[in-house]
Amino acid sequence: MESWWTDALQEGANSAPKGAASKKSPFPLPSELQTPPGAEGWEEMYPYFSRFRPEDDNRFWFYNSMHFPEPMSAFDSLSQEAPYAALGAVTTRIFVFPAALGIDYRVFNGRVYITGNPVLDPKEIERRLALFQKRAGHYYQNWSALYSDWQKRITDLIKRVDAIQVPQLPEFEDEEVVTKAKGIPQNHYLWENFNRLIEAYSIMWHHHFEFLMLGYGAYVVFFQYCKKVFPEIPDQTIARMVAGIEVLMFRPDDELKKLAKLAVTLGLESKFSETKSSAEILASLEQAGSAGKDWLAAFEKAREPWFNITMGDGLDHHHRSWNDDLTIPFAALVSYIAQIKARQSLERPTERLKQERDRIVAEYRQLLPTAEDKAAFDQMLGLCQLVFPFVEDHKFYCDHWFISRFYNKAREFGDLLVKQGLIEDREDFFHMQHTEAKQALTDIMVAWASGSAPVGGPHWKPIIARRKRIIEALKGWNAPPALGPMPEAIEDPALLMLWGITKETLERWAKASDGAGDGELKGFAAAPGVVEGVARVLLTSKEIGQIKDGEILVCPATSPSWGPVFNKIKAAVSDVGGTMSHAAIVAREYGLPAVVGAGQATKRIKTGQRIRVDGNQGIVTILD
């Protein structure tokens, strides 16, 4: 979720271009978009207020492919409503960011398009600034104390979600309802507990953005200063200066490495094999005496909370966590054990990384022209280092740990609907909007009370079947990267860092939509170095078992669950992402060249092709 901020901070970058109406934009207008055959009626899956309106043709929109790479199911509408409501509240209403309101989003063909609402009137910016100084100032000044309180709040919230019970609707209420005069039967809790689940989701998003926009504010300031004083400094180098080394994001992968080492220490390595499923491996460890028990105990301990990372960006319900599907962690364990046996080091060289970061900071500081600049640089960098732990770690707490628990709790409600005959499968629950889900629960609520059966089965089953067909048809739609008039200039480094959206990006997109294209893809130079090698195109982290040593990873975007591949690959390329995206950060940590935000890399590059990745200049060349 790290990139929401760029939109909110973009300060006019996405505003309607001046006088551009007459010029033909290379991007289609929202009103010109077509629905593919078989997907007609997709609108019923999403709320009315998320649709394009006629006046939206005058605004520039871009496709949020980083967070919504696939057509969304109906339930997942929540993953725009709640985050955008939270982000906008933070910038517009709570901290009163001077030049940026929130983000408008629209859904078309199941894809999410967004644009920012800048504040352009200088007087209004001044008025907002006065409030912002006081409010943001309070958070910055008390950052560390507020953040440790936040960590407690978010972990409590996760516990509350875990504790939500899905009413099982007994034939007769427990006698306690009478003897303790509770007066409230189970069918009421269908509403209350489902509401609590949705409310917890909303609260999580408010927590998510509570510090985040301020954190990114500090980054933007430092980036802008560095760009001003060192006009040619690469973004990736600035990012290296603010990077923390020991952040939670690396922890799940580190835990796997520890477990791999433990397996070797305990002499259990023969139990781990590529040809065995995780269940088979676990079963054989159960039989492996005290060594097996020791390992399993360590494994169980590591799972909570570190295996609560999902295989995507955390927004999509079908991105399951390691805990839900042990395939990925076990594939990684097998590979790590093999590396230990081959005497390869698994360690991230944290000391060296820290020294290298400190050296870069010291040398840049030394190059500053005046003592005053050095003092200003120290202040700005200091603020970035203060906010960094939250900016990095919130992803684990919110986007992975909370969200994987949230969707699993929703699945428990799905189980109830299956039991009551409303749907065929627990996963079908996600084809209802959350408001519709509440309606279905109401059906059960009244039926249980009256002693009849719910009538939702014949109602919902055809709807869900239709929606599944629509989603399938929508998958084939090639969503344009941008819509509406081309903005004249995008100068904000914020947009650049995470989204990788600049004037050049837009021009590249425009060219790509012409069907032009030689063997070269341009993206963001995310981690330095140049290598050539064989491409391995992976669309989800579920496929990471396929990757071979020394291949170059080509993927849509990465998240922490991709961690294990970085030990094997020699370079990384992603479709989406900027300088502070996960793939960029991890590649720098591992010292691998990376180009992120390369647009159509997973479409244009085929597994097995030889490619060259130039992480200094952000160019990927297809050599075959």
């Binding site: 300060e11 600034l129 100032g137 300031v221 060192f230 603020l383």
Partner: protein, 354 residues
């Protein structure tokens, strides 16, 4: 008669000796002392010039003539310049100085009696930055043999009185008695590739950016603008290379072995669009550039050459001058420390000038 002015070897001089050995000589000495690999050589100091000038013109006629010139009257400047140059170039050197230079050249040759050297003007003036003198006086490349060296020392002296130099000094009103010329005699390297290196981006003034330009052969064809060089941008801090432009380099300068000096020749086709420096050379150059900048405490413009020698290809630094264009523009800090770090955030997000 004053005592014989002796020549000074690079290793024995440094920036403090500018008045005596000129800007170029002092810089080469300073680099040598900083353990930067510079082709070895020595400087014929300004005192030698003074001695020779006194011997040639005991009455101080030359300097008086110049001071009397009108800076507007270009034709009389040109005529005076021609007369003075003839006089200096044709007069024999004082005997003791001849012996001194010949002995030093012999030492430099280490047995090779016709070792090619560069003979370079190294002018000095107490009133002017060396940089502003650059290019006004002559440099002679690929000079071989004792007699030719002595000859070109005189020519360097004479070049202090070429029209451009005279006009320049008259325009600035520099007093003639404070103008003097030292001469650098330096072993010539025969470079496969030569170039320049800016330790501060000449295009943006970025202090963290090193720009290297390179061409085949001697650097004179690059400095003279006869070829478009290859260009590599290197990050000074991380060492990463950024943009890299390989140009079509149709021409190169090579020593004219028959006639002395240098000549231009076409570059073989297959070499024209081939990069003329490798990653290793880029890395080594950048490291040297950093070291020189650190030594001087400010960004430098550097000339270098890569020579194939029996011991392998070797990088030499031929010259290093302080960068002046961007340096002159730095007056204000880019940002000043604020009362609180937060003020930077308020200024930037609130669209205020910090």
């Amino acid at each position: 008669m004053s005592s014989t002015p002796s020549v000074s070897w690079f290793a024995d001089i440094g920036l403090d000796d500018r008045a005596r050995v000129g800007g170029k000589g002092a810089s080469l000495g300073e680099l040598t002392r900083a353990e930067i690999r510079v082709p070895p050589g020595f400087v014929v100091p300004t005192s030698a010039f003074e001695t020779a000038l006194r011997a040639l013109d005991p009455a101080g006629e030359i300097r008086r003539t110049i001071m009397a010139l009108s800076r507007e009257n270009l034709s009389s400047i040109a005529a005076a310049a021609e007369r003075i140059r003839q006089r200096i170039a044709s007069a024999p050197l004082p005997n003791s100085l001849e012996i001194e230079i010949a002995r030093a050249y012999g030492e430099l040759c280490a047995g090779n009696a016709v070792l090619p050297v560069a003979v370079r003007s190294s002018a000095t003036s107490e009133d002017s930055e060396d940089a502003s003198f650059a290019g006004l006086q002559d440099t002679y490349l690929w000079i071989c043999g004792e007699q030719a060296v002595l000859d070109h020392v005189r020519r360097c002296w004479a070049s202090l009185y070429n029209t451009e130099s005279l006009t320049y000094r008259l325009r600035l009103g520099l007093p003639e008695e404070r103008v003097a010329m030292a001469v650098v005699v330096q072993r010539m390297v025969q470079p496969r590739t030569s170039g320049v290196m800016f330790t501060r981006s000449p295009t943006t003034g970025d202090r963290s950016t090193i720009v290297i330009e390179a061409c085949w052969g001697l650097g004179s064809c690059l400095v003279g603008g006869e070829v478009t060089p290859d260009r590599v941008v290197v990050n000074k801090v991380t060492g990463d290379t950024g943009s890299r432009t390989i140009s079509g380099k149709a021409l190169r300068h090579v020593p004219d072995l028959a006639r002395g000096g240098v000549r231009a020749e076409p570059v073989p086709n297959e070499m024209q669009t081939a990069p003329c420096i490798s990653d290793d050379v880029i890395r080594e150059l950048a490291a040297i550039g950093k070291a020189i900048e650190r030594h001087y405490g400010r960004p430098q413009d550097i000339e270098w050459a890569l020579a194939d020698e029996p011991s392998g290809s070797t990088l030499y630094i031929l010259q290093s001058r302080p960068e002046t264009v961007w340096g002159a523009r730095d007056t204000e800090p880019v940002a000043k420390p604020a009362a609180s770090a937060l003020d930077h955030v308020f200024a930037t997000l609130g669209h205020r000038k910090s």
